[in-house]
Symmetry: C2
Subunit: 332 residues, 2 copies
Amino acid sequence: MAKKAKESAEERLIARYFRPLAKHPGAFGLADDAAAIAPPAGCDLVLTTDGVIAGVHFLPDDAPRDVARKALRMNLSDLAAKGAAPLGFLLSLALPVKTKASWIAGFAAGLADDSEHYACPLLGGDTDHTVGPIMASITAFGAVPRGKMVRRSTAKPGDVVVVTGTIGDAALGVKLRRKKSLGKSWRLKPKMTSHLLRRYLLPEPRNALAEAVLHHASAAMDISDGLAGDLGKLCRASAVAATIDVMRVPLSEAAQAAIASARDLWQTVLTGGDDYEIILTLPPDRLSAFRAAAARAGIAATEIGRIEKGEGARFECHGKPLAYKRASYSHF
Amino acid sequence: MAKKAKESAEERLIARYFRPLAKHPGAFGLADDAAAIAPPAGCDLVLTTDGVIAGVHFLPDDAPRDVARKALRMNLSDLAAKGAAPLGFLLSLALPVKTKASWIAGFAAGLADDSEHYACPLLGGDTDHTVGPIMASITAFGAVPRGKMVRRSTAKPGDVVVVTGTIGDAALGVKLRRKKSLGKSWRLKPKMTSHLLRRYLLPEPRNALAEAVLHHASAAMDISDGLAGDLGKLCRASAVAATIDVMRVPLSEAAQAAIASARDLWQTVLTGGDDYEIILTLPPDRLSAFRAAAARAGIAATEIGRIEKGEGARFECHGKPLAYKRASYSHF
C-alpha cells in the first residue's frame, strides 16, 4: 500500500491516557494483546471483577475522576476482605461515541491516583465504543498465601461478628444526592451532608486491614449490598446463624443525626448498599489482636454480634427482633 | 427480623445458570466474592479481556448461545496467539431489566458448551442490570512457561509471516448479514453464504496450535481488527517492516467467489475484522515444524510474506504495492 499504516485512534487513546498507568513489567506497556503475571512464590492469585454503569452505579454528572476511583475501589474492597494484597488490574471501558476527551482524561487521572496510592498497577484492558451508557468494568488481582483466601463460608458458631468503619453512610448519601432537600428535613449540618455524599461517591476500601483479616478472620466479605443482606449471604454460605445488636452497629455522626430525625432510616442504613466496609467473623480470642491492628491502621473495628448454630441473620434492638422489608440491595 | 433472609434474585440467577459452569475448585461454586487460582509451577498467568455489546459486536437477534460462545472465543483466541493454555475465565454480564430468562438460559448453555470444549471453566463474575444494551465482558486466564508469553514485539528481519485458517470470511459475513441480497450479487452458492455468515457469528479460535506457537513463533497476535491493521501493529511493536504477497493470503472458496464477482472486496478481506486467526512470525528454519504441527491439528498454516528491516506492512500484488483506504477496523 502507498501510505504507511498509522496508529489507530484506539491505540492513540490507550497510549495517551492509560499507558502511564501500566507500570508493571507484565503489562508490556499495553502494547500487547495480553499481560503476564505470576503471583509471589507460595501464593494464590485472588481474582475479582466488578464494574460501574452510568445511570445505575453512578450519576452521569459525577466527576469522571471519582467514577474511575469508585470502580477501582469496589474491587480493592473485595481484595481487602479476602485478605489479599493488590497486584494489579484490567480495565474494560465502553464509551459512547460522543464521550469527550476531557471525560476520558479525568477518568484516567483518577485511576492513576488510586492505582499509585493502592500499589495496584494497570495490567491491560479493552476499550470499545458502545451504543449504551458509559461502562467501566474492572478485574482486580491480589495475592494470598496458597489456600489461605479468606472465605464467606467458614464462619463458626461462637465467633464474634465485627464490621469496619461505619455503616449506612453511602445509602443515606445516595438519597441526599437524588433529593437535596432531605438534608434539611434530616436536620443535618452542612459537613454532615458532605460526609454522607462523599461516602457514596468514593468508597474507602480497607486494604490497610487485609493482612489482619488474613491472620485473624474465620470468614469475611465486603459489604456492598447492605449489611443485613450481605451478612445473610455469609450465614447461608457458612450454614450458621448470626445475632446482631443493632445498637452496636457503628454509625457516623451524620447517620446518627439523620436517624434521630427520621427513625425509618434505620432500614436504609442496615439494608442499603455501597458501604464497602468489611464484615468479618473471628474466634473471640482473636478479637483484641484484630482490634489492635485496626487501631494501628486508624480504622474503626466494632463488635456487633455473634455467630450461632442455626440459620439466618437476626437483628435485635434491646433484645427484640427488628423487622424490615427488604434485606439487601439486589440487581435482580 | 421476622422473616429469614432469602437468597436474592441475583443469587438465584447465578446458582441456576452459571454455577454448573464453575467446576474449578478455586471458583468456590460462585458462592464467594472472589476466586483463587495458581498457575502451574514455573508458569506465568496470561491475562486478557474482551467483550461484546449488542448492536456493536453482535446483532440483537443473534442466538444468545452464539453470543456467549463468541465472547468466550474472542478471549480464547488471544490466549492461543500468546501460546497460552486456558485456565479459566471471569464473566461480567450487564443485562437490561427486560431480558428474558430464555435469553439468559441460552447464553449460559452456549458458555457451558465452549467452557467444556476448551477446558476453560468459569471462575467467577459479576451480574448487573443496565439501562443500555446487553454487554458481556470476559477476562480469560491462561498459563505459559515463565517469561515465555509470545509477544507482538519480537519479530525479527528474516522471519517468515504465517497466518492460520482463512482471512476475511467474517468481514464478508457481516456484510451479508446486514444485506442479504449481496449473496446474489456476489454469485455465492447457498453453502458459501452460510460459510461466511457462520464465520462472522462464531470464531474458531486456534487453541489447538497454542503449543506450536509457543515453541516456534518469534512473535504472534490474533487477527481481530483486520489482517492489514493488525500486522501493522505487530510491525510497529517489533520496529520492523513486512512485505506480504496478497496472492498468497489464504481465502476460503466462498471469499474467492465473492472477490471474483466484486474485486473491491479485496479491501474488505484484508482490512475487515473478526478473523480470529493467528498471525505469527517464525525463523525460516522453524516453518516446517510449525506446518507439521498445524497439519496434525487440521488447521491450515500459510506463509504469506517476510519480515524486513524498516517500518510498515506492505501488501504487494504481482510485485506492485496494493493501495487501500483504511488499514484496520478501529473502535475509535
